[in-house]
Subunit: 304 residues, 2 copies
């Protein structure tokens, strides 16, 4: 199931292309103002431009492409999801949260600027995500805009990403050892919700009705879980330099993860099985879904 040949090229090209495009969207939305807000916007640009794999935007754009959605619209929606992802990383890295110094191979925002600027830059990227989605340039259809916003709002708030982070934090603080069921729920909220929202938003742009998104939803549920298992594996077996962030943190903190609960080998098998299952959910699509298939495989094979 390894990524080889054509599929690898497809993915490499796809990621590279979307990385440049997402940088351009952020660049356009973040002109540095000619007043003392400049520090804020510079911090936002520092965090948002030129870093990250852009897995979420690529998921969104590749799903939208299945339905012939205009690429500019899909990229704007992709930038909105990425803005949420980036804001969450900035806040996660804060001293009162994970206290990380390194992100995407460079100093974290609070290290390069300061803590208060990091809080505000995160908050402003959070608002920017919804500004982008509410803009008529993203979709001329107000129903689509509103559905995109509802999807992203739920995926990022207390019933999504932020809720998952809290479950994670409480376990650390109170030494709770979650079982596999709770870890799965935690990760589905913390990581899965935003990955699933990316796919969902691609389908919303394609005006696919709710009931027509079931296969795609099954695909994204599986890759979400596989993504987190791969992250846990990376923390144990990865190369810190390639990853561009601190590793071996789970073990140091004595944290329950998929790997501590299942062991390295079983976790790896489980991630592979989930990816195959995810790919199977795309059975009704032809070659146009090859990028989504390649992305699923990349998710477990990545080294960062």
């Amino acid at each position: 199931m390894a990524l080889v040949g054509v599929e690898s090229d497809l993915l490499g090209d796809g990621l590279k292309r979307v990385q440049g495009e997402i940088d351009s969207v952020f660049d356009a939305f973040l002109p540095v103002p000619d007043d003392t807000r400049a520090r804020l916007v510079k911090a936002m640009r520092y965090a948002a431009i030129g870093g990250g794999k852009r897995v979420r935007p690529l998921l969104l754009v590749s799903t939208a492409e299945l339905f012939g959605v205009d690429r500019t619209a899909a990229l704007r929606a992709g930038a909105a999801v990425e803005a949420i992802h980036v804001y969450s990383l900035i806040h996660d890295d804060l001293p009162c949260m994970d206290d990380d110094d390194l992100r995407h191979g460079k100093a974290t925002v609070h290290k390069t600027f300061d803590e208060a600027t990091a809080v505000l830059a995160g908050d402003s990227l959070h608002a920017l995500a919804f500004e982008i989605l509410a803009d008529t340039g993203t979709s001329s259809d107000p129903f689509v805009r509103s559905e995109l916003i509802a999807t992203l709002g739920t995926a990022s708030g207390m019933n999504g990403m932020a809720g998952g982070q809290m479950m994670d934090m409480v376990a650390d603080d109170e030494g709770i050892e979650y079982d596999l069921h709770s870890i799965t729920k935690l990760q589905q909220l913390k990581t899965g919700a935003l990955l699933a929202a990316s796919v969902e938003m691609g389908a919303i742009l394609g005006k696919i009705p709710h009931e027509g998104r079931a296969h795609l939803r099954a695909y994204s549920r599986d890759i979400g879980l596989a993504f987190q298992i791969a992250d846990d594996l990376l923390d144990v077996t990865g190369d810190q330099e390639k990853a561009g962030k601190a590793l071996r943190k789970d073990e140091e903190q004595g944290k329950q993860t998929f790997v501590t609960l299942m062991g390295v080998d079983q976790a790896r098998d489980q991630a592979s099985a989930l990816v195959e299952q995810a790919v199977a959910h795309l059975g009704s699509y032809g070659d146009e879904a090859n990028l989504l298939r390649a992305l699923a495989r990349f998710i477990v094979e990545r080294d960062r």
Copy 2:
């Protein structure tokens, strides 16, 4: 121009009623989950329920009432604006920002819970605001929902509240002494944008076209500035117990404010003149705008 008799009753009743109603909306949107996210939702409830004057929701609801908008819809939109206001207070009070221990007469969120929970609770209230606005229960018209979101997103982000906070912070850090022009811009962003958005959102719910909102916009620009001048006056002359938060902070920090730039008397005159001007902008409305008139007066006469 003091609030007397009928107008005072109207305002008192209006505030009291909306306070209860906004608490109910938050209560309904924030059920405490039966898992370890409970800490997060408890912190959100602690910050959002039972505190604050609810000036922004009352502005929104009173504007919406001019146009016969269903009260339930207006209250939901009001809760969304208030969620943004509350999130900004939580983050503002953090040790790395203003480091405040007291808010609305009780311990701040990071004091009662912890810093990480305060960051996440703020983030989750931020997301909740957009979730509420994107919900079909707030408006069945997707165009209205999308316009509400665009308005609130802009008012809260780098070109609104967060931008104003950054201008404020940079002045503190770098000892910049803003002139009256810059202070006015700073305050229009930091405080004015969200107050103006409250009025604007009431008109959006009333389906008043953009060009039909000019008088209301002039009204909210004036009360926004008056509000901040009153805040600066309160910091100098107010009673800390009534205010329920730390006062005399501007002076301690050697900060430029409307009061340091104009003096107490001139600042007071200026605030009164702005309020009269704001009230004059409502000239085309009859008694149905009395609550907006009373609110304008309250803004400069409040003691907290």
